[in-house]
Symmetry: D2
Subunit: 131 residues, 4 copies
């Protein structure tokens, strides 16, 4: 997916504030689920949320207002009740930010839930196929 | 209440992004309820939220990272299921931002609910006493 | 322009937090300048920012995660060093939020500057043509 | 430092959105510099910013609106032009979130700069003393 940097995403250094890349990761994840699995709202309708349990971000170089960013994400691994995603944010082909995230499937009270079997099998298959 | 401007609240103009004052208003409102009425979480426990129905903000001069802001809020009026607040944000005595907000009491499904009678009477009394 | 509501734009009421509509207005404004005037970065390159001096928002009904919003904006008026915009945010044709904003042209030190004459004339003409 | 969770920091899961902990880390860092080194604005006045180059966050359990959080931060290491911080966010003594961050000293154009010698020596000494 692509994202054009908003003015409100910048900070007084004149660049995108580093916390906002976590937002870009989230949007890319939502889009990835649309394209490769089920929309996030489908999971919510089943009473499942994916709570974020870990985030790591490497900032290689800054981005600025109005930059057109390409955000790539892929499924790194999937287990019974959790999954890992990876991200690359680039501008004009140059990598700006790399990241990973881990998520646990939880019910609306926050208790760990297994990912529904059909989804789990499909996610594992997708993870196995990644280069 | 006072607020020390966070770096992430600034934008590429080097000043506080104008949307963040809405956050400061909200925090002042929560503090006001603590001090003059019941904590916001008390209302949530009664199944009531105060949905924001109107906001107006006049920006007189900008504020910057690390500025110590004094945020004053007061109840402007209270009716059966709604109330109005007003705000003044100053730095070293100089007014920077003025604003007003209106809120409707709603239940967790978003339907209008009357403010509980005892609270309503108390809020009206407070509004009547304002200078 | 359209905007698909991000998960991070929601709050614990399960709806879009009211401060985020100010962000949507800003994005619509940037897009409007692209389409009808000069890109915002063009103004920044001329040493001009449009500081927000006033915002008003009427919240008619809430929006939620994954909602597809249509954001319409138009130039309400233009003067020598300021302009006013208006906004309508709808979902499936139903108005959700209305708003207005006013902006002053300022230089990078925050002093009022006149909008460059050619731009000013063009903006006035656009404002005069609005229905 | 302590932080009372703001309503706008929550999301539709009813908990603090995971990106906001990055904001809490930043505030704790600013406070740490005040208490142990020089205020961040002192560095900015010297023409130095600390650009974030790496962030890692482990989310152990969620926090909610109005929770009183205790945020602890310490200097993990300091080198000529970079430093590492660590964070622990707890509520009523229970760890909720752990994290680390790395920062490079840069000038206002984003080029790597050495931390001024006196500061560098002092930071190294502080890092050496940590338990």
């Amino acid at each position: 997916m692509s994202h054009r940097v908003c003015f409100y995403e910048t900070d007084a250094m004149g660049i995108v504030h580093h916390a906002n890349y976590i937002h870009f990761f989230e949007n890319a994840r939502v889009q990835w689920l649309d394209d490769h699995d089920r929309p996030y709202r489908w999971y919510v309708e089943q009473g499942i949320h994916f709570a974020t349990t870990h985030i790591a971000v490497h900032y290689q170089s800054p981005t600025a207002f109005d930059d057109e960013l390409e955000i790539t994400t892929w499924l790194d691994w999937a287990r019974g009740a959790s999954l890992g995603m990876a991200y690359r944010i680039a501008r004009e082909g140059e990598t700006k930010v790399l990241g990973t995230s881990e998520h646990a499937a939880v019910d609306l009270e926050g208790r760990i839930r297994r990912i529904p079997k059909q989804r789990r099998d499909s996610l594992r298959e997708i993870a196995a196929r990644r280069p």
